[in-house]
Subunit: 341 residues, 2 copies
């Protein structure tokens, strides 16, 4: 039998309510009593029963995270651990725990969320994706549950979220290529239904337009976040009368495929084709040549996401949408000067 508040009370010669007040740091409690009770708690190794506490307080000091299904985003593979470290760092600081849940399909997912929310297991929810017309978001809004989206909702623009400025990031990446003297710049894209893809494509287009460079439909290939995606894209994109001499690639993972495809086709990087990519995963600097990539601040995304969510839960004022700064990490794959033509 675990030690309860009563055991502490008895040994300290006070009432259970006093012990409770000491735990809650109630102001109207004498310093002496407080000290005495704390001593006894230590002696006995007392730890409050969270279930009882939650039952009466109607909060769990726990936030939920739905583990995305693999189909959704393969890039999570390299994103998830770092992101969760950021989340955990903030949660630990704030004294919250994290409950991870999931479902094998949309229906199960919705059921899980309902169960957790209605069952009082979580005080808020962190969402790691942004599908169009997401029933989970509708549910959370209806039930008035605090939640926060990592990314951007395509349906609502008043959804609390933390994100990168993907338009600006792609703009910067493209600008970088332009500053290297590139004029024929293509774009290897991701799934078109993702906000991230749309935003990065927009930034790319914007940079081209501003610089008065041509935008060619044939220079833009849509792909998946898959191993082969970038690889395959090369056959089609480079097999044109006037192929691009530089590529903005949606993600490092895809960029590895691009690199491989180009090499096999006999192109040299960056001499024949320069490459800029996104997400800056640990391996970007290990390829040959190392890939220039936009660091999206994965840890910071997680840290800020949980911070905002907790603020929402505690009804502190928060801005609806926060942007995490990105940073272009220039490596050889994009440098004209690296090997002058």
């Amino acid at each position: 039998m675990a030690i309860t508040i009563k055991d502490v009370a008895k040994k300290a010669g006070v009432s259970p309510s006093t012990v409770s007040r000491v735990i809650a740091e109630h102001p109207r409690i004498s310093a002496k009593t407080s000290r005495r009770v704390k001593e006894v708690m230590d002696e006995l190794g007392y730890h409050p029963n969270m279930m009882a506490k939650s039952l009466v307080s109607r909060t769990s000091r726990t936030i939920g995270v739905i583990l995305p299904r693999p189909a959704e985003e393969l890039l999570l593979n390299f994103f998830f651990y770092e992101f969760m470290r950021g989340v955990m760092a903030q949660l630990t600081r704030a004294g919250y725990d994290l409950l991870m849940a999931g479902g094998n399909n949309e229906r199960e997912e919705l059921e899980t969320v309902t169960r957790l929310v209605r069952g009082g297991r979580i005080d808020g929810l962190l969402l790691l994706y942004s599908r169009a017309s997401d029933p989970v978001i509708s549910l959370l809004r209806k039930e008035d549950v605090p939640f926060l989206l990592v990314g951007r909702s395509l349906d609502y623009d008043d959804v609390p979220s933390v994100d990168n400025d993907n338009v600006q990031a792609a703009y910067d990446a493209t600008k970088h290529l332009i500053s290297q003297g590139q004029r024929r710049i293509g774009f290897v894209s991701g799934p078109a239904h993702l906000a991230m893809t749309q935003d990065r494509l927009a930034g790319y287009t914007k940079a081209l337009t501003e610089a008065g460079l041509p935008f060619k439909q044939g220079w833009v290939v849509e792909g998946e976040f898959l191993l082969e995606s970038g690889y395959r894209a090369m056959a089609s994109i480079m097999n044109q009368p006037e192929p691009p001499t530089a590529l903005v690639v949606i993600d490092d993972f895809v960029a590895f495929g691009v690199l491989k495809g180009l090499t096999e086709l006999g192109y040299r990087i960056p001499e024949d084709v320069a490459i800029v990519s996104f997400n800056n995963i640990a391996l970007s600097e290990l390829t040959m040549p190392p890939i220039t990539s936009v660091d999206i601040g994965t840890y910071q995304l997680g840290y800020t996401a949980s911070q905002m969510l907790i603020s929402t839960i505690q009804q502190d004022p928060v801005q609806q949408r926060q942007l995490i700064p990105h940073r272009l990490v220039v490596r050889e794959s994009s440098l004209r000067t690296f090997s002058p033509v």
Copy 2:
């Protein structure tokens, strides 16, 4: 105010206990009542309050996972998501939730575990590392909390765990090189204090010995699970009078560095130096050449780990230690025949 068991009871014209019995699928309840109550539950959108349930049942149907600190294992970056998917799949099936916690240092970590265990928040714990003389394990044993280790404990051999047969895996990998005609085989190692490193080194040595091949101290380099580790190792290992013509590398991540180091030194892979590695992360097939790697069944590790832990919690008989099968995925980096010498 959420719907409680009382609301359901009133509307269904029964007592709260009857509703409770219906939820628990108690055998002595009439089919009619059961149906009626379930109808009402659906109508009202009732979901049981988990806190109240846990309080009285003294179980939380939740297992804990301690998020390892980054310093511990960088290879977790590529391991974590896949592993967690396996864990979640099994937990969802079994109707358990997952609580993730962590600490910034050993003391905090121990405190967190104590808090969760004593506070009744978790029924068992999944440990993702195996430090020598781990205070967390001592605590869990003392408190008699079900737990399961992923990997192998260096201190106790009666700790419930799920692991790969790393000796056999390294043996197989080395054997493969030998079958390719390799006779001078080196080993790029990881941190020596890890059981995984020790086991793989043992398997490597065993294969050499069995084949009557020389084991040279200079052909074995210890490293970290770091980007530069494999890269740097090449300078020292290849700079010997008789350098190895094949390498067994502790991890894919390190192997990327090895690949890069060798290429820069002017060696061709696999013609001059053949490579076999471990963990088979998604990028192993994207390098040039693609790397032969031992797949360790990451998803399966997670799935089995939670399965075993749940069995332990439910006091079903479980074997203390379970091994997940590995599988050598042969790619170009190890094939002599690929480009005959």
